[in-house]
Amino acid sequence: MMILSGDAPRSRALSALLVVIVLALALAPFLFPGAKPLNVAANICIYALLVASYDLLLGYTGIVSFAHVMFFGVGAYGVAIALYGLGPGWGALALGVAAALGISVALALAIGLFSLRVQTIFFAMVTLAVAYAFNVLASQLSGLTGGEDGRSFQVPFVLQPGFRLFDGALFGVRITGRVLSYYLVLAVCAALFLVLLRIVNSPFGRVLQAIRENPFRAEALGYRIVFHRTLATCLSAAGATAAGALSALWLHYTGPDTALSFSIQVDVLVIVVIGGMGSMYGAVAGAALFILAQNYLQALMGELSSAAAQAGLPILPGLFHPDRWLLWLGLMFILAVYFVPTGVVGKLRGTEERTQ
């Protein structure tokens, strides 16, 4: 229990689901060989970390940020610019990650101090505006960021697909740099997830939840709510930055679409709500379900769309077109907010915990 910070899943069904997910992720290169399944598994890890860091803000502290994808982008661009400019090396990678973390935390501190003083609703609006401006800035500063084309770069040799850890295969799978990359992503995500779990179960985390439930009472008890909210913002930004750095490392590429697009922000919001706000495990369960659905349900939608088109139905082909995947996601999201505010985790735990 130490490793889970005393915050067990508290439900057999949820534990079983989490064990399946974790085992599948840990053994993914051996269970599901091939490039696509490995990509899906890496995405699940990265999103689980990204969403867990977002949940620290939304679920535990009760503030809505639209700049989470911006911090994700800072991490991705930090790695991209460092590796592109300095060449593939561990030193460059470390420098990029450190610089990105510094920039993210400074930005989060500025936004937090600035807009959390007045009203939390300011925070939602200010982060939206700042994230939008950052997005435009990133595509305009093409000398640094590569503009709309983004930056492709080389990763350290050990992580390149051509690298072999040893000749021959382990359980029929060659241990290439790609597999090592995957395990690096998995290990960092798992470690940071446990850190986040530790944070929300610390006295600091309890204060955050108290602020979420009743800011006035928390303040009356002597907690400086601006300090706590701002610190939560900075921690959450750091988590997102790490996820962004891993994502860049995995893709060998960073561009506006993969690192800063608003649709990533929407995805994160949807995953938090579907997984369950205010529970770190929701991030893992939600990310796994969402990424699987995104990768395999869209194909189904394409078939539905063409079937409807052949049957000569109006409008329907448009509605089921794979590009309209967000439409159904949005509907699911609204229904989840109304009817299942505790998400998958709440349902599996069978308790109607209050999430406000």
């Binding site: 939304l58 939602a124 609006m125 409008i315």
Partner: protein, 336 residues
């Protein structure tokens, strides 16, 4: 501008003039850097026109927030919807729009505005009843639900109208520019400024001189008291929400004619701008929204000329400066 805040309160509140003068200050500061008077005039008129269009969109948002305490992240979807309605109106009336007659051209523009206003108000009715009614008083859920609504609405627009950009040509009479000395001023910008001013005047008159306006202002100040006096506040809510959505539609049409094209993503981009405007102006204040819109648009135009790469960041900087001066915006509304 104090009329939006207190109105007929006794003793009459002193008019807070300083924030209203900020656009003049900005213009005066920018003038020496721009140099040429004709360029300055062109930029200023462009800024005013842009400001009026943004004001039309943002005023609906700020009213809804002021009265209902609902921040509608789906507001952008109504902006896009209005623009698409305009394309639908112009399709059968292309002959009117191409005709070389000011009357017919103006008729087409007004019809497009009217249709967009009505359709968006109707859509706003559905949006309020279905999505927002269950989450009154819960900020977090409101933000989530309206974001969800915005996503669904934008995707529906894509599904119905297709993902491509739809051209929306200006009616003949509004094309081209008037040459004033050395400065070229686009005709449509004058039209847009005029319409925006009309909207502002109508809002001030309604809020200040009618019983409905009195109730809305009272509701902004103290919702429970209005209810206790026997008025159906929920009807007021839905009415104001419809008006706000209709205004978003009007703004969307004006903007679409200005850009001469329509795309479903325009709503999201403009939503960012309207947020900045209502934060700068003070959440819930129509007068503040007006000042904020002019300020944002002027600065965007001056910055776009002087330092193009800074144009978007300039809005954020403006917001920072204003909030450092007045943490609740230029015209803070009491009780918020």
């Amino acid at each position: 501008m104090s009329d939006t805040d207190t109105g007929a309160a006794l003793p009459r509140r002193r008019i807070d003039i300083a924030p209203a003068l900020t656009p003049l200050l900005v213009a005066a500061l920018a003038a020496p850097f721009i140099g040429s008077p004709s360029t300055f005039l062109t930029l200023t008129v462009a800024g005013l026109a842009m400001g009026m269009m943004i004001f039309t969109m943002a005023s609906g948002l700020t009213l809804v927030f002021g009265l209902m305490d609902v921040l509608n992240f789906g507001h952008g979807a109504f902006i896009s919807l209005g623009a698409y309605v305009a394309t639908l109106v112009l399709l059968p009336l292309a002959a009117w729009s191409q005709a070389d007659s000011l009357g017919l051209n103006l008729g087409v523009l007004l019809l497009a505005l009217l249709a967009a206003g009505v359709v968006c108000a109707a859509a706003g009715f559905v949006f309020e009843r279905v999505l927002i009614v269950p989450v009154y008083g819960q900020h977090l859920k409101q933000i989530l639900v309206t974001i969800g609504g915005a996503i669904v609405a934008e995707q529906l627009l894509y599904a119905l109208f297709g993902p491509q950009q739809i051209p929306l040509p200006l009616p003949t009479a509004f094309r081209g520019s008037i040459i004033l000395g050395d400065a070229a001023i686009e005709k449509y910008r004058i039209v847009a400024t005029f319409i925006g001013l009309l909207v502002f005047a109508a809002q001030i008159l309604i809020l200040d001189r009618t019983k409905i306006g009195l109730l809305i202002r009272a509701g902004v100040e103290n919702r429970e008291m209005v209810e206790a006096l026997g008025y159906r506040i929920d009807r007021l809510f839905v009415g104001v929400f419809m008006a706000g959505s209709g205004l978003a539609g009007l703004g969307g049409v004006l903007w679409a004619f200005y850009r001469e094209q329509v795309h479903a993503s325009m709503g999201g981009e403009l939503l960012v701008l309207t947020f900045i405007v209502i934060i700068v102006g003070g959440l819930g204040s129509v007068g503040g929204c007006f000042t904020g819109a002019v300020l944002v648009a002027l600065i965007a135009n001056y910055a776009g000329f002087l330092a193009p790469k800074l144009a978007l960041v300039s809005n954020i900087l403006l917001m920072v400066v204003v909030l450092l001066w007045r943490p609740r915006g230029l015209y803070p509304v009491s009780g918020r």
